[in-house]
Structure formats: C-alpha cells, structure tokens
C-alpha cells in the first residue's frame, strides 16, 4: 500500500499540473508533494528497518504474473534520499529557476523524474523497470532541452541519443530473456537461473546487453560520454537534480541485477566490475582536473564516484556491498549539495567559469559553508559522510585482499580533494578578476534553505555513520541472500 504512494504522489502532481494553475500553486504544490513524499519515505524506512521487506502486487495479480513492487532496505534508503533531494530541490528551484521555465512545466517534469526514480527503486519486474527508465528519460530530456539555446540543445541531443541506445539494449535484452525464460519478474528470473543446472551460453547475451544498458545509464567507463557532454548545459537546478538521481538509478539497477542474476556467473562479472569501476574512478578524476567550469569539474567527478560504487561491487563481499550502498547514498546528497552551490554562483555571477569568478567568500559566509561541507565530504574528510563511505569501501577492499585496487581508490581521493580545493580557491578565495553583474535578481533564502538541508544531511550521515553503515550492512546481507528476496516475492514454493 505504502509503495504505491511513491508513484501516486508525483503522478497526482503531473495530472494536476495539466490544468491551468498559478505560479505560486505550482511551486508550493511541488513543495507539498515532495514533503509528503519525504514523510512517506520516512514511514517506509521505519517500517522496513523492522520488517525487512515490503511488497505490493499491482492489480492483486500474484507475482510473477502481475507486476510487483518490492522494497527492501536498499530501496528504502535510496527512496528516502531521493525524497530528501526532491524536497531540497523543490524549495531551491523556486528561486533558482527563471519564472518562464517554472510556468512552462518545470515542476511537472521534475515530478516525472521523481516518479521514474521512485518507480525504478521499487520495481520488481524487469519490464516495469524499463517503463520507469522511459519516464525518467522523457522527463530528463525535456528538462535538459527546455528553453535552451544552441549549446543546451546540442548537449541534449547527445544525451538523448546515447540514452536511447541504452534503452534499446535494455529492451532487446528483456526481449531475449523473456524469450528464453518466459518471465519478466526479477525474483522469478533469479530463481530460474539459480535452479537451472547448466545455463546455456545464449543466456549471456541478454545479460550483457542489459548490463551495458545499466552501465550507460550509470555513466560508467567506457559509456560515460553523454554525461560530461550534457550536464553543464541546462539550468543548474536541473543539473543538480540529474546529478543526484539519474546515474544513481543506473547503478542501483546494476546492483539489483548483479545480486539477483549476474552473481550466478560470479567470477567473470566480479572482475568486469572491478575493472570498469576502477577505470571509471581513475578516468573520472583525471579528466576532471583539466576543467575550468564549475559544473564540468563536478560532472566528471560523478563518473569517478559511481566508479567507486562499482569497484566495491567487484570486491563482492558483504562489507563492500554495505560500503557501496552507503557511498551511493552519500554521493547523491553531497553531489547535489555542491551543484546547488554552483547554481547559486551562476545566479549571482552569471557564469561558472572558474577563471572569471572570485571573492565570494568575503560576503557570503553561509554559502561558503554550504560549499565546504559537501565538497569536503566528497573529498572524504571526516566526520562527513564521504569519509565513512570511502572508509567502508577501502576497508572492505583490504579485507577482500584487493589491496592494490583499494590503494588506488584511496589516492583517487587526493585528486578529488584537489578539484574541490581548486573550486574553493578560484571561486571563493581569489579576488574577483572582473566585475560581473548578477544574472538574475531576487531572493536567495529558499535556495540557501535547500542547500542547508543537504549540508545537514551530509553531516548527519557522517556523524551517524556507524548506525547507518550498520543499516547498510543489513541491506547488503539481504542482497547477498537473493533467496530471501525471491521467497519473499514469490512465496516459498510456487512457480
């Protein structure tokens, strides 16, 4: 019952916003929707922390015949963080987005993203997951190209086409899998694969296709091109939304797919994850260093940070999985937080070119703090969330005897720190090279509120690192026991 709410709330907003409404109603309606979504997520995680899993069979058609929505600890955590980001962004956008875009449906597509992301996190069915990907893709493409000039359109075309290829691979993989197994339900697929004595080699082709589709969505090496090509073009609030959610859904799907299905071919896939994750991690920070655009630096770092998560998947221990989950959650919050500061800088100074910015520290101490907290968190400084995540992943790497990989992961942190310090020094400390007029006038209080919400969250996630990591460990235990998931969804016997 509670799971349907995550779909219905944003859908209701989408429905309502087809009717003529004033700007205020659209804005505060969106805030109300996201706050309710947040309350729902808090309720769900409180429930799940004690019960472990929740499912809801759509149309009361029993799984695997109907579509089932499932939430385990991983889903609940990501739903909560998504809801938090949604709340912060809906508040932030009121003062960040120009009124024209706000009137022309920004919040509607925002709700579309939220609906797609929520749906993806609770989809228990492969095709249903694909549908949520489509909802996300459509909304994100519109948001990305909405009201933009040539640069923005160029970025969105690359975004759209490369993501459509992901959709193509995904749906082709689903078709092939369905052809061979006759089912779309993830738990059912997992059971079939687990019970099959010998898997025909033809099974691997759809798995490869689907994994590549997720890798494209997650912006992993060597499929990340769409991300740096497009993320710096739309309005900052949109980039913040994308940075926090879109790639993470790809990674979430990869985790789900890996633990339920790919794991039966463990040896190969673990090595693949290790290499893809490691290379993404290194290439992400490497490419980021040469950038001089606030958002481009951050965009390239996204690649590096999803690489961390996938690397941890490759370690393939419970502790590593717990670290990966924690890191994923941390990154969603901290990354969005930094992007929100970028949005403020853009609004203030009209540019995000580091060479043309400066001196924001002297008169904007709160915004400086809002930058430093998530930035240091991304660089892995204790006691912020990034430290706990990095600690957990690196420790698990050492414990799993992947010392070299862990060492590389550690020193990638130095380069992340370098990028964050570069932004800090250039944007906040350095004297202003030229006087630039503010681009948009207007208040900043709500923007600051949104950024502060995320900064507090990243502190909270760091300070309460131990209990949250414990929660993540339980989530990892669930993931490492796919049988539990399968039995929960399908029942003990059945099918």
């Amino acid at each position: 019952m509670i799971l349907s709410g995550f779909i219905i709330l944003p859908l209701l907003y989408i429905v309502v916003s087809f009717f003529p409404l004033g700007l205020r109603a659209r804005q505060w309606g969106a805030v109300a929707m996201t706050v309710m979504n947040l309350l729902l997520a808090v309720g769900l995680i409180a429930h799940i922390a004690s019960t472990g899993m929740v499912k809801s069979e759509m149309g009361s058609w029993q799984a695997p015949y109907g579509i089932v929505m499932v939430a385990d600890r991983l889903s609940a955590l990501l739903l909560l963080i998504t809801a938090l980001l949604g709340t912060a962004l809906s508040v932030y956008a009121i003062q960040s987005m120009d009124t024209e875009r706000q009137e022309k449906g920004f919040y509607q597509f925002f709700a579309g993203i939220l609906m797609g992301v929520n749906g993806s996190f609770i989809a228990g069915d492969l095709f249903n997951l694909y549908v949520w990907f489509e909802v996300m893709l459509m909304s994100s493409f519109i948001l990305m190209s909405h009201g933009g000039g040539k640069v923005q359109l160029g970025g969105s075309i690359k975004y759209l086409i490369l993501n459509l290829i992901s959709s193509f691979f995904f749906v082709a993989g689903i078709g092939l899998l369905y052809g061979q197994t006759g089912t779309l339900n993830l738990a059912h697929l997992s059971r079939i694969i687990a019970e099959a004595a010998v898997l025909p080699s033809s099974f691997n082709a759809p798995l490869v296709l689907i994994a590549i589709a997720f890798a494209i969505k997650g912006a992993l090496f060597p499929f990340f091109f769409w991300l740096p090509a497009s993320y710096h073009t739309p309005p900052p609030a949109v980039t913040a939304l994308f940075a926090g959610l879109l790639t993470k859904v790809g990674i979430y799907s990869l985790i789900r797919f890996h633990t339920l299905i790919l794991r039966y071919d463990d040896a190969i896939w673990n090595d693949v994850m290790l290499w893809i994750g490691g290379l993404s991690m290194v290439i992400g920070v490497f490419t980021a260093t040469s950038q001089y655009d606030f958002r481009k630096i951050l965009s390239f770092h996204i690649i590096s940070q999803v690489g961390y998560v996938v690397l941890a998947l490759g370690f393939s221990t419970r502790a590593a999985m717990a670290g990966a989950i924690f890191f994923l959650g941390h990154n969603m919050i901290a990354k969005t937080g930094v992007f929100l500061v970028a949005g403020w800088v853009k609004k203030r100074k009209g540019t995000l070119d580091l060479r043309r910015l400066g001196e924001l520290f002297s008169r904007n101490k709160w915004w400086s703090v809002m930058f430093l907290i998530p930035a240091f968190s991304l660089a892995g400084i204790p006691p912020l969330s990034g430290f706990v995540g990095k600690y957990a992943i690196i420790k698990s790497g050492i414990d799993a005897h992947h010392t070299t990989a862990a060492l590389i992961a550690l020193f990638v942190g130095v380069f992340t720190l370098f990028s964050m310090l570069k932004i800090w020094i250039e944007v906040f400390w350095k004297p202003m090279p030229t006087a630039i007029e503010p681009a948009i006038k207007g208040g900043e209080g709500l923007m600051l509120t949104g950024a502060a919400l995320l900064a507090l969250a990243t502190i909270g996630m760091g300070v309460a690192g131990a209990p949250i990591l414990d929660y993540c460990t339980e989530a990892a235990n669930d993931l490492f026991n796919p049988n539990g998931y399968v039995e929960f969804v399908l029942g003990r016997g059945g099918v």
């Binding site: 219905i8 949520w132 909405h146 490369l162 690196i394």
Partner: protein, 928 residues
C-alpha cells in the same frame, strides 16, 4: 577526570565556533575568555601526573562511533600527557597572544574560531585511544591548517601555500588511513591498548613493508621531512599566532607523536631503524643549513623547525630508551623556545614593520621585557646551560653515542647542525640587540606592541618555563617514565639533571659551541657559501617544482581529456555499439551454427517476400537522395512490421502499428519543408566504415536472436494470462487485459510518458518559436486553404470527424473482448481532428475541441490514476480491478469495472497528446 577533559573538547569547539558573533560584541577580549578552557585543561593534565604513576594509563570511550567498531575513544598516558600539556599550555598562551595580535582585525572572530578548532583537533589527536580517532583528528588538523594558512585569502602566495600544505598533508593522511586499515586488518582491532602487544603480528606480516612506507609518508609529510618539507616555510603566510602554534606544539609535531604512538606495535624493525634515522638526519642538517641562508626571521625559524623535526624523527627512529627520552625532552625544549620566538617575531614585525634580520638593530630597550625573554629563549635554542635546551641536546648526543646506527656520521651531522643552531642564535641576538648598522633603517618603532600584556605574556612565560625546567629538570621525569613505559614497554627511570659531570656529551657540547662561535665569526663567508648553494637549490625550488608538477599534470590531463571526451557524436555511438557487439561475441563464442541449421523450421513464402520488401525499403531509405523518399521507404518498413504482427495473430498490435506509422508520416510531412536542406555530409570512406559496423552489429544481433530461440528453460508465464484472462479479468482480448489489468502499471507509466511528451513538445516548440519568430515561412497561404473550404469538403470532414469519434468509443468499449481498446481508440479519434486541422488550420480545430488538449490529457491521466487509486480505498492493492456485474435483459451479462475507466483514461491521454502536438506544430507553421 578524563571524562571532564574529553567533554571539554566539544565545549571548547562550540565556544570557538561562537567566536564570530561574540567578537562582534566583546571584541578581542573574547579570545582571552576562550583561553580559560585550555588553561583549565592544562591544569587537569598536570594533575594526572600524580595519579598516573609510572605505568598507569586511563582510557575513556565515548558512546559515539565514527565508523562501526571504532568508537571515539581517548587515552591518557605519559605520552599524551606531555603532548597534552604542551598543546593546551601553549594553546592558552597563543589564544591570548592571538587576541592581542589580531585586535581590531575585521575577521578576528573567524580567526579565533579556527585557532580554537585547530587546538581541539590537536588535543583530540594526542588523546586518541583509537587509530581511527587518531586519523579523524589528524585530518582535521590538516583541513583547519589549510583554512588558517590561507587566512589572508587575497594574497596569491597564501592561497598557493594553503593548497600545497593541504594536498601534501592530506596525501599523507590518506596514507595513514590505509596503514591503519592494514594494521586493523592484521591485528583485528584499532584500539591502541589492544594493539600494544600485537607488535610481532604486524611487523612480521607480509604487508608490513607497505604499512611502513605508508606510515613513513604520513610522518614525512606532516612533520615536514625532506623532501616534503617545502610546505612548511610556505605555511608562514599564515598570521604569526598560527605559526607560533603550528611550529611549537601542534601540526608538524603530530608526525613525531604518531611515530611514538605506533612504535610499540609498528616500530622496532630494520626498516624503521634505517629509514627514519637517515631521513631524519638529512632533514636535520638540511634544515639548519638552509636557515642560515635566510634573512626573514620567520623563514629562519621555519627552517630551524624543519631541522628540529629532523632531529626528533631521527631520535624516534633510533627507538632506544635513551633516544625515546631524548625525543620527548627535545619536543618540550623545542616547543618552548619555538613558540616564544615566533611570538617575539610577531611583536617585532608589528612594531617595526619588518622581519628582515638585516634591517633590525638596537631593539634591547624598545622591546622591554620581551628582550629578556628573547635572550633566554635563544640560549635554549643554542643548547646552552642552564636551559632545558642544554639537557635536551646532551640527551641527544648521548642517544647517538649509544646507538649502533653509524654513530660517527650522525654525530658529525649532529654537531654540524647544533653548531649552526648556536651560530644562528648568536646571529639573531647580535642582530637584534648589538648590531649598530642595518642595511636599511627600519620604519619608526611602534611602542605600543611590546607594552601590550597579551603580546608579551606568551614569550615571557615560555622563556621562564624553559629556564625553570632547565634548573629543575626532574619535574618532568615522571611523565617521561610513564611515556617510555607505554612506548617501549619498559619500566624506566628517566632521571634528568643539568649537570652530568665531565663526560663525552659535555665534550661534544663544548665542541659544538666552539664551532658555532667560529661559524658566527666567519658568518659572512659561511653565508656566502650557503647562498651560493641555495642558488643552485633554488633552481629546483620545491614549491615551484610542485606547482609545475601540478600544472604539468593538468596539461596532460587536458590533452587526454580531449582525446577521451572528444565531442564527436559518431565515435561515441561507434564505441557503444562496438563494445556491446564485442562483449556479446565473447560470451557467445563458440557459435553453434549447426544447431541453427538443423533445428530451423521452414519459413512461409509470404513472410519471406514481406521481409525482402522490408529490406529493400530499408536499403532505399539509406541511399535515397531526398528526405521525403527516405521517410516513405521507412514507412514501408513500419507497415511491414505491422503486417508481421498480423500474420502472427496479434491484431491489436498490428492496428496500433499501422495507426502510429500513419500518424508519424503525417507529422513528418507536416514539418519536412522546415528542415534544413538535405545534404550528405559524410565522405565515402566513413560511410563504408559505418556500413561495416552496422552490418557487424546487425549480424551479431541476429546471432543472439538465433541462439536464444532454442532455449526455453521453464514454461512461460503467458499461459497464466491465457488461463485467467476470461475467468478472472472478464476479457476475451488478452492483449487488452494485459494492458489494462495484468500489467496496468506499465501502461500507467507509458501513458505518463506520453503525457509528458506532449507537455514537453509544446514547451520546446513554444520556446523554439520565440527564437525564430518572424522567419517562419508560411507553407500554405490562407488563400489556398480558403479554396479548400468548400461547403462539401467541410461537411465531409466534419462527418468523418464525428464518425471516427463514434468508432473510437466503440473500439474502446469492445476492446476488452475484441481487437480495439483505448490506445487504438485514442489514435482514431485524434486522426479525425488531425484531418480536420489539416484542412481548416489549427485555430478552428481548437475551437471544435472546446476543451484544450492539455486538460483532456489531464483528465485522461487522472481517470487512469483514479482507476488505480480507487481500489486502495477498499483496502486492496493499487490497480486491482473492481467489478460491477449486471445482468441486462438484452445484452446478457455485463461486466463493468475499473479497467474500463483505466482504458478510457488511456484513450483520452492519447487523444489529447496527438492533438496537443499536432496543433502546436501547426501553430508554429502558421497553419491557422
């Protein structure tokens, strides 16, 4: 009592963070108020001296865990006491000094806040009982020192120095973390008390060399050992109170502290006893040597700190009892004199406006009480009796004499270093107090600073302590005993006296002082010599080198980034497809061609013909010279797919395919004139390449499909749909039942996509229209359309529109049992309006619609959602069908249910979407 100490830390941090608002009200006095807490802490530390005895230690773990298994826990033993007393004691003096020094500064509040936080993190570091706790505070000192060094952020060199300092110390910090994680992995604990007897486990592990290297990097970076020392002279860009604190008791000393802390379980190995002494002695000598070539008082002091740190690392590296004792005593000695000297430098700087030694002279009287303090302090730095410095130096000589590690070399380096120290001390005293000539006369002396108690208190107290401890050194013996017990696991009696009698150490001391005096006398020659060497070294000036390294790296990164993220869309696509194909080829190898051949079933002739036609259409679309023909050719492919559906019995799909295909063609033709002129932009060679890639991808997809065809692991779930469609979902048409009932959630998602697409197209087109308003060519002039609007045509079109609506509703209603349904109905109804719009333009169509398309979409989506939500009010899962069973006299049994409501919503969404898009595009085309 340890609890009080521990809880004073957050209290101090909190009060520190209140400094910005509080100083606005109270001014610099808030710094004095703040300093009460470190004073209190120092008293508490001192009181431990009696309770702790020679072998005790106290531990307190807070309930808060930084990471699982690593509570924030603290310990007090001799080592943490010695460091704790120094950090809190000098912290107390420095806070007062800072209050005086920064008085009236615009950002005094921020400064005091950072100083306090720095103090808290250093105190936390020395009190850590847990490696992770230690790392936590270690990183905090790095981060806060970054903010302090860059405090004057308008100065480029301050920013640069801050960046270098943090990059280097943070890299060291990460090494430390990794070393700790490895140790924890081996020993199974991070708690220091538990690690104490795990030494052999760690030092004999095959990862020990790695652990050691990482630890050494951490020590070298933090404690500014050669060649990582260069960040420290840069750090003097921070305001002087920071330097005083950074050099004397905190930050750089953390590396030495770390060595002593981990020595019981990671020391006492060949590596330890070789690497640290070598690096330490090199640093020791280089630091002293370079300091002699400097003129800026602060830089001189910075280099002597490097030298002193080298001494401490050397001593801790030797690791004998005597050497450990010497390390600890020398830490105290150095902290006392270095803190005082930096504060004095700050006073001189404030009073005269310069720190250039060559410009200063005759400061004895103007400096007042500070002069005495300076003199005493320099005595201690030179290692002359009766100062504590003398005892420290004697202990060092003693330890070197006893050690088995090249005592001759080390003694020579030691004597050289100490002689240079003596010479520097004399030189500073001479320049400040006796010298009558100065290169340039300094600006007039500002008398108020030496009179300010907040400023002179620090140096005076520190020099007094130096002297007092020199006269009664045994006061610190008990701390040493306890510390050495916990470092070396040995009960030790560290008896300290000023006078040892005539022994080798004394002889060495005398030699040192003599040599120092000689160097002082020939200082000009020596300085010239050092300056010349400096000239050579400066060519490889490390901060610049580091800068170049970073710049070079950025340049390489930029080049490689352009290679990776090249911006050519076609190569991205190529990468995607080739990797996907390659991966599939790998997993499918070897291909089972024979199976495909033997098990292939015969294909019917009409399907072969259809496929051939589709292929021809595809090929023609690729080579066609115009866009229109390409679109028509693609249409053939689309209709072909529809026919395929039909041949395999999927009537609903076929109808949908035909309708969608038609609609797309209409849309294409509507806009085709507005697209840029058709041109072939690629050269023959790249087209050939693309053709090859496309063929390869196609072949592999074919292979995959062929392979997949012969596997059916379990019976498919579709049988369930066949079995239950009529019985439980009351529909004959399984396709429709799947869409609106079995898998209605997918449909709900998809119609949301459609609705958003409509909304998006309208938003995009409207903005696009704004960009090129006025340029848009009018395709069909009103006069032309006028001629079409004859009564007959108007009538026919209107009738078609009405008929199609009726057909659509009929399709919707029968959809559950026969081909049809909301989606098809929506397209059919909409096509009537599209037809109408083509004839009459968009505005009249809008009027005919009465309700704006957006609202139709909203209602439709709302109805579908309602069908999903209604059952929830009855306590059932979302989208559970609710049925009303009626028995009508004529039609027999009738099942009315929410799936119909859902399907109605689908129809409205599709209908509204098509209208919204077509009408908007026509609007843009001025097809009114």
């Amino acid at each position: 009592m340890i609890r009080t100490l521990v809880y004073l830390l957050p209290a101090l941090a909190l009060l520190g963070m209140l400094a910005p608002p509080m100083t606005r009200r109270l001014g610099h006095i808030y710094g004095v108020i703040l300093s009460a807490i470190p004073l209190l802490m120092m008293v508490l530390f001192l009181s431990f001296n009696t309770t702790l005895g020679d072998t005790q230690s106290v531990v307190y773990a807070t309930p808060w865990q930084l990471v699982p298994g690593a509570p924030l826990s603290f310990r007090i033993d001799g080592l943490s006491l010695i460091f704790g007393v120094m950090v809190s004691g000098i912290g107390f003096l420095v806070l007062n000094y800072a209050a005086g020094y920064m008085k009236g500064h615009a950002h005094i509040g921020r400064f005091l806040m950072l100083m306090t936080l720095f103090m808290v993190s250093m105190l936390g570091l020395v009190l850590s009982e847990n490696l992770i706790t230690l790392f936590f505070f270690w990183e905090l000192t790095s981060v806060i020192s970054f903010l302090l060094i860059g405090f004057d952020n308008h100065l480029e060199k301050a920013r640069k120095a801050a960046l270098q300092a943090l990059l280097i110390t943070a890299a060291g910090g990460l090494s430390l973390l990794f070393a700790f994680l490895l140790m924890g992995n081996i020993a199974g604990t991070y708690t220091i008390s538990e690690l104490l007897d795990k030494g052999p486990l760690i030092t004999h592990h095959h990862h020990y060399p790695l652990i050691f290297i990482l630890l050494a990097i951490a020590v070298f970076t933090k404690s500014a050992q050669f060649p990582f020392h260069f960040w420290l002279p840069g750090a003097m860009n921070a305001p002087t109170p920071v330097s005083a604190y950074l050099h004397s008791a905190t930050m750089v000393n953390a590396g030495v502290f770390l060595m002593l802390r981990v020595m019981p379980f990671a020391g006492d190995t060949m590596l330890w006893k070789t690497v640290f002494p070598i690096v330490g002695s090199v640093t020791m000598f280089v630091g002293a040597f370079l300091s002699f070539g400097e003129r800026d008082l602060k830089r001189i002091l910075a280099f002597t700190t490097i030298s002193a740190l080298g001494t401490m690392v050397l001593m801790a590296g030797l690791g004998t009892n005597a050497a450990t004792k010497a390390t600890l005593v020398f830490f105290v000695v150095h902290g006392l004199y270095k803190g005082a000297l930096f504060m004095i430098t700050g006073i001189i700087d404030k009073s005269t406006g310069t720190r250039d030694l060559m410009q200063l002279r005759q400061l004895w009287k103007p400096l007042r009480s500070v002069s005495g303090a300076t003199f005493i302090t320099l005595f201690s730095m030179a290692g002359l009796p009766p100062m504590l410095g003398f005892i420290g130096k004697e202990l060092i000589y003693g330890a070197k004499l006893q050690s088995g590690f090249f005592p001759e070399v080390m003694l020579m380096l030691g004597i050289g270093t100490n002689a240079l120290m003596v010479a520097i001390s004399i030189l500073i005293a001479y320049r400040l107090f006796w010298s009558r000539k100065a290169e340039v006369a300094p600006p007039p002396f500002k008398d108020k600073y030496p009179r300010l108690m907040l400023l002179w208190m620090g140096p005076v107290v520190l020099s007094a302590v130096s002297l007092l401890l020199g006269l009664t050194p045994n006061r610190i013996a008990r701390y040493l005993n306890n510390a050495i017990y916990h470092i070396r696991a040995i009960e030790y009696d560290a008896h300290l006296t000023l006078w040892h009698g005539f022994n080798a150490e004394l002889l060495l001391s005398i030699a040192t002082v003599t040599l120092g005096v000689v160097i002082f006398i020939y200082r000009e020659t020596v300085t010239r010599f050092i300056t010349r060497i400096n000239g050579v070294i400066n060519r490889y000036y490390l901060p610049d080198l580091f800068d170049k390294l970073i710049k070079g790296y950025v340049k390489v990164a930029a080049r490689q980034t352009n290679r990776i993220q090249h911006g050519y869309h076609r190569y991205y696509l190529m990468t995607f497809f080739l990797i996907a194909t390659g991966a599939m080829a790998v997993v499918l190898f070897p291909f089972e061609f024979e199976t495909w051949m033997t098990s292939a079933s015969p294909v019917k002739t009409h399907i072969v013909i259809l496929l051939a036609v589709m292929s021809l259409g595809m090929i023609y679309a690729m080579v066609s010279p115009s866009r229109l023909s390409a679109i028509l050719a693609l249409g053939i492919v689309g209709y072909g797919i529809g026919l395929l559906y039909l041949f395999f019995g999927a009537v609903d799909l076929a109808i949908t395919q035909f309708l969608v295909e038609t609609l797309i063609m209409v849309l294409f033709i509507l806009v085709i004139d507005y697209l840029p002129a058709f041109a072939s932009l690629s050269v023959r060679r790249s087209r050939r390449r693309d053709a090859i890639i496309a063929t390869v991808v196609g072949v592999f997809v074919t292979i995959v499909v062929l392979e997949a065809r012969f596997v059916n692991v379990v019976p498919p779930i579709s049988q369930f749909f066949i079995d239950h469609s009529l019985l439980k979902a009351f529909g004959h048409n399984i396709v429709n039942v799947i869409l609106v009932d079995f898998r209605a959630m997918d449909t709900l998602g998809e119609i949301t996509v459609l609705a958003l697409a409509a909304s998006g197209v309208v938003a995009l087109v409207n903005v696009g229209q704004k960009c090129q308003s006025g340029q848009s060519p009018m395709r069909i002039p009103p006069a032309d359309t006028q001629s079409l609007r004859t009564l007959i045509i108007a009538g026919v079109v209107t009738w078609i529109r009405r008929v199609l609506i009726v057909v659509a509703v009929w399709l919707l209603l029968r959809g559950h049992n026969a081909p049809g349904g909301g989606f098809i109905g929506g397209i059919i109804a909409a096509s009537g309006y599209v037809f109408y719009a083509i004839i009459f333009g968009s505005e009249p169509t809008r009027k005919k619609l009465r309700i704006p398309p957006f609202i139709i979409i909203g209602i439709g989506l709302g109805l579908s959602m309602l069908a999903g939500v209604l059952p929830m009010f009855m306590g059932e899962a979302m989208l559970t069908a609710q049925w009303l069973h009626l028995t009508l006299p004529m039609a027999g049994e009738l099942h009315l249910g929410t799936p119909l409501l859902f399907d109605t919503g689908v129809m409205l969404v599709v209908f509204g979407m098509i209208n919204a898009i077509v009408l908007t595009i026509m609007n843009v085309l001025k097809w009114n």
